[in-house]
Amino acid sequence: MSVGTEDLLKFYYYLLLTRGLEDRVAKLYRQGRILGGCYVGSGEEAISVGSACALESRDVIAPSHRDLGAHLVKGVQPKEYMAQYLGRRTGLTRGKDGNVHFGDLSRHIIGFISPMADGIPVAAGAALAFKIRREPRIAVAYFGDGASSRGDFHEGLNLAAVLTLPIVFICHNNQYAYSVPLSRQMAVPHVADRAKAYGFPTRIIDGNDVLAVYEATREAAVRARSGGGPTFIECETMRMRGHAEHDDASYVPRELLEEWRRKDPIQRFERTLREREVPEESMRAVQVRVLKEIEDAVDFAEKSPLPDAHEALEGVFAT
């Protein structure tokens, strides 16, 4: 399978947009201009972008808190993301929720909630609906290494296996869950070792290589769509910042960060683009477009109205 220049530039666009938006939000956080906490997926963009780009438009994702890239690929607009962080009515939750806690079924995104791993069985349920209705669609669940300790992870994987559901499980193994290193989270070397117990294929890939993530997800998607059942993909990566922006991550060895900084997914991909002779002007055009979209998004969000107080009462029930 060869990926053409157009696709390469698409990956590049989403990688840069993800990094740029999150850097911008982190800066707003430091300036005290956003409400509440601030979570970014710096250094993990290739996982979210590469996998989401491998899906059909009607496939459903259940992202986690380091998956801005997948949201963007699915059509979330930068301005909606900024408005969400600023608690504006124009955010995807209309100010009801903050930061990365959003979603939109019209764009095939199951909204993320804080309790880690809750989205995994829910994604399995989406896949179950596709299977019952014989629709050629699949679901993708995203989660971290820490989330894989929860019962909902194990229950979701097992259910998907027993029912042969069209689903792909994508793990960001970023070596830490808040301050807890992988070695204190599990007594096996890989998250995939846990998944193996459920009886479907597992893979461990380089999560900082967007093309590797793309290829692995495509393969798993083909399998799921053709009735072959689930696949588990463990993407090895590193959480390059604190758990959230308030956390200086002083518990992470500096050498480990240095080692992973050399594997930065965006710089690596830029080298790939040059190797594949993608024109410099095309790359620059993407960079310029991204910068403009980010500034427009901040501008849009800051000019957007806050919700009115009484809107707090709206929407508890469907009508």
Binding site: L35, G36, G37, G87, R88, T93, G95, K96, D97, G98, N99, H101, I113, S114, P115, M116, G146, A147, S149, R150, G151, A177, Y178, S179, V180, R184, Q185, M186, Y251, L306, P307, D308, A309, H310, E311, A312, L313, V316
Partner: protein
């Protein structure tokens, strides 16, 4: 006497109990080297070591179940939920295993689950909830919710020494916004006793947790208008101190119950029912409630401000009640 924060009071209670009772140990996420999401257990790992300050995997049901098992074997585990919102992940272990064990087998389950709860921090629907009523509704659990550093320390020590599972609700807003004096020596406060935090003869204001501060502020405003409010701080939600509640209500004849949790089937509903049954002939006005509305906790400032009771809203309700 020394002036400390609510957070420091909780830290001291844990430290002292661990220091004097080797059965006491801690379980939770990021409580070791990191010192906990709110830094309550900072320095504990260095002092008490890895076997008594245990960083768990991300698995609430697992570590709450493990705490129950250790308690059955005679240990005194104190579990830290990173946020009270995630206590629901361990709900089954708490309400089925811990809560019902003694009733069935007459064997105690001495353990504490610390639950950092409550809003006013722009933390949205999953880091702001007040889950106390879920547990009050489960026979076999005690539920504590202090409002001051003094109460926080004395009640946590009592919770750790109690032979039952205790859900200890510590309000996140109070961590750094409540300061007060605590004695330098050892003291323990009994569970199940409310405290009249302010005397008054006109209206009884019953509340707990972060709403005590707001209620006291409202009471001061009313006092300036010649209305004297008596504030009853529940401190323990189960067992409920109906004696103190009823004594105050019988004195004033008018009651406002305030809580930050949603109204429907909240603590206030139980208190109103007790008052209706036991003090009906003493009432000069309907028992009133001021609570959060029946919605999740919203994130954006105007929404969260609307959602949460505060001093101004309490004062306005008190005014209505005074002129009833």
């Amino acid at each position: 006497m020394e002036e400390i924060t609510y957070l420091e009071a909780i830290r001291q209670a844990l430290w002292e109990e661990m220091d004097q009772d080797e059965r006491v140990f801690l379980l939770g996420e990021d409580i070791g080297a990191y010192g906990g999401a709110f830094k309550i257990t900072k320095g504990f790992l260095e002092k008490f070591g890895e076997e008594r300050v245990i960083d768990t995997p991300l698995a609430e049901s697992g570590f709450v179940g493990a705490a129950i098992g250790a308690a059955l074997m005679g240990m005194r585990p104190v579990v830290e939920m990173q946020f009270a919102d995630f206590i629901s992940c361990a709900f089954d272990q708490i309400v089925n295993m811990a809560a019902k064990h003694h009733y069935r087998l007459r064997e105690p389950v001495p353990m504490v689950i610390r639950a950092p709860y409550g809003g006013r921090l722009h933390a949205g629907p999953f880091h702001s909830q007040c889950p106390e009523a879920w547990f009050v509704h489960s026979p076999g659990l005690k539920v504590v919710a202090p409002s001051t550093p003094y109460d926080a320390k004395g009640l946590l020590k009592a919770s750790i020494r109690d032979p039952n599972p205790v859900i200890y609700c510590e309000h996140k807003y109070l961590y750094r916004h409540a300061k007060g004096e605590v004695p330098s020596g050892e003291y323990v406060l009994p569970l199940g006793e409310a405290e009249v935090k302010r005397q008054g003869s006109d209206i009884t204001l019953i509340t707990y947790g972060a709403m005590v501060q707001q209620g006291l502020e409202a009471a001061d405003q009313m006092s300036a208008q010649g209305i004297e409010v008596e504030l009853v701080d529940l401190r323990t939600l189960y067992p409920l101190d109906t004696e103190t509640i009823l004594a105050s209500v019988k004195k004033t004849g008018k009651t406002l119950i305030v809580h930050e949790a949603p109204q429907v089937c909240g603590i206030g509903a139980e208190i109103a029912a007790v008052i209706a049954q036991e003090a009906f002939r003493h009432l000069d006005a309907p028992v009133m409630r001021l609570t959060a509305p029946h919605t999740p906790v919203p994130f954006s400032s105007p929404l969260e401000d609307f959602y949460l009771p505060n001093a101004a809203k309490i004062a306005s309700k008190l005014k209505d009640l005074a002129s009833y």
